[in-house]
Amino acid sequence: MIRTPLRPLARILSARAKGENPDAIERENRRLRHEEMRDRQRLRAEGRLLILGLFFFGAFTVVGARMGTLAASDPVEPVMATSGASILAQRADIVDRKGRVLATNLATHSLYAQPPLMVDPDRAAAELARIFPDLDAAKLRADFTGSRKFLWIKRRLSPEQMQAVHDIGDPGLLFGPREMRLYPNGTLAAHVLGGAGFGREGVSSAEVVGTAGVEKQFDTWLRDPANGGRPLELSLDLSVQAAVEAVLAGGMRLMNAKGATAVIMDVRTGEVISLASLPDFDPNARPVPRAGRDPSDSPLFNRAVQGVYELGSTFKAFTIGQALDLGLVAPETLIDTKGPLKWGRFTIRDFRDYGPELTVREVLVKSSNIGTARIATMTGAERQQAFLKALGFFEPTGLEIAEAPTGRPLLPRKWSEIVMLTASYGHGLSASPLHLAAAYATIGNGGVRVVPTILRRTVPPEGGDRVMAAATAATLMSIMRETVARGTATFADVPGYAVAGKTGTADKPDPRGGYYDDRVIATFAGVFPAHDPAYAIVVTLDEPVETSGTEPRRTAGWTAVPVAAEIIRRTAPLLGLRPELEQGTGTGLIRVRN
């Protein structure tokens, strides 16, 4: 760069010649030079600002454009980040305690039509009606040729049906993928599983929503992808459930009952191993409840959980258990059983006359109403009420199925003296068979409250309330063992399994008031094996009548007990219980000489 000298000699000399101050020239030149430098620097600064501005503009444009494309584009699955495990079916499976499938999903297709795309609506309608006999050709033709743009034809198709529809070859008939719920075991455990249907439906997918049972109770859990496809493990045992249902169905037919239910519970954990209610239904094609009819006659009705019945003499065990626990009586205390017992306008009778006096043990073994009522008067209404409440007879069972809250026990409004007397032998208050099973399981669990659950548990729940002393529970168990060995439930004596239990036969209440003479609810409630209680069982038959004898027999000893015995005989080996020979009381060593 050529720098202009501050004091150019030519100008200085000429300025001196003119008598001017040469410093002015230098100042002027200095000024010009500074101006030039300033201009240059400004230009550079401006250039930098421009570049910086362009950079920021570019950066913001990129960010804005990226945001715009993200907002406007369709969501795409991030291919890189996902692992294989996340590609799963929509709804989790339901399995039994050993992992056998109770409910799973199956990919099928649905069929829908778009009439504007149709080539030959008449032929399509005729062919469809040929493939699906339940469709009406005339109605389909009206739909296809009318103003409709879209209609569902079938919710679920089998592969064969799909191929047949495909072979029609009409472009207006379209398939959408569907995931359907499948219950491979048919009617097995239908009341527990409930059923599922479609919720919101789109062409390419549909929501599967639980409609009853555990499917409804755990609907959100089953649909939650966060569970990673883990199945819902129930406490049911498939083979035990199948055996129970088969035996119960046979027993129901044999005893001419109109309904039957059976519950098997683990006395330590409260797990429900089997819960059967007959008549049942197929959850794959869950019937629609019919309006205007008694819901308890519907096959959808879960008798074990929803059905509340007066469970009769099975309650005597609680009355006597409480009296023993309070120390009011001992097993050998004599109780006055002279009958009939009159209380106001009520009369309490026994099935037959048991003489003037019985021991407490015999009261339960022979099932004396009068004796039990007398024991209840010793206990008093208030303590009796508290005891039954502690056993869980005052609220729904809390089993984790959608129907459980409807199984609310029916209780008398006021716990008067007469209620106390009738409640002592199981009349005047109604509870579900599951309530009874839970209460008997409590006795089997050494007096610690057992709460039923349908979910698999590996360890017993901690901190159950103690309802009665362990010693009382053991005494009560031995008395109930005698009831089976030589009392009212002798048919339940399954060799090797030391069944302890109590029968109950209750007249059915007539909806028009009073009780029926010839309709009963027969119940057997028990625990086995008595020396080391493992399982509680309740079998209830609705209106049974046993007709092999000369006159019809309706008592539980002739109806519910043989069915319960057969259930125990079949299921105890399946549950892994080894038969054990009991130590008889009358046997000893006999010395034989030869």
Binding site: I87, A89, V101, L106, A107, P184, L188, A243, A246, P573
Partner: protein
């Protein structure tokens, strides 16, 4: 010197550009393969679910019961009952097969013969 640096930089840029170009295509190929594999996994899982459902359906207790009944003459299957439990002392020891005696073996003579 300066021009050499410039030329080298130019080559480096070209090399990097070529590398980026190749990586881009390799990534895309890998992504496509992943997508294909995942589709395959999904298909296999669906097939597995169907097989499991079919297994459960074919093993439903009702069908097994019917089959056991149908094949009773051949298999003689009955529901398990309490008699099926055995005790460990009921299990016999395996029978020891003693070798048959062939003539008389003089062990002392054998010892001596060695």
């Amino acid at each position: 010197m300066r021009s050499l640096v410039l030329i080298l930089t130019g080559f480096a840029v070209m090399g990097l550009a070529f590398w980026a170009y190749r990586e881009n295509y390799r990534t895309q190929a890998a992504l496509a393969e992943t997508a294909a594999l995942q589709r395959q996994i999904a298909d296999l899982r669906e097939a597995l679910a169907i097989q499991r459902a079919e297994w459960a359906y074919l093993n439903r207790p009702e069908r097994l019961r019917d089959l056991a009944l149908l094949n009773f003459p051949r298999l003689g299957l009955v529901p398990i009952d309490a008699d099926r439990f055995g005790r460990i002392d009921e299990v016999a020891y395996p029978r020891v097969e003693l070798p048959a005696l062939h003539g008389i073996v003089d062990t002392v003579a054998l010892e001596a013969g060695q």
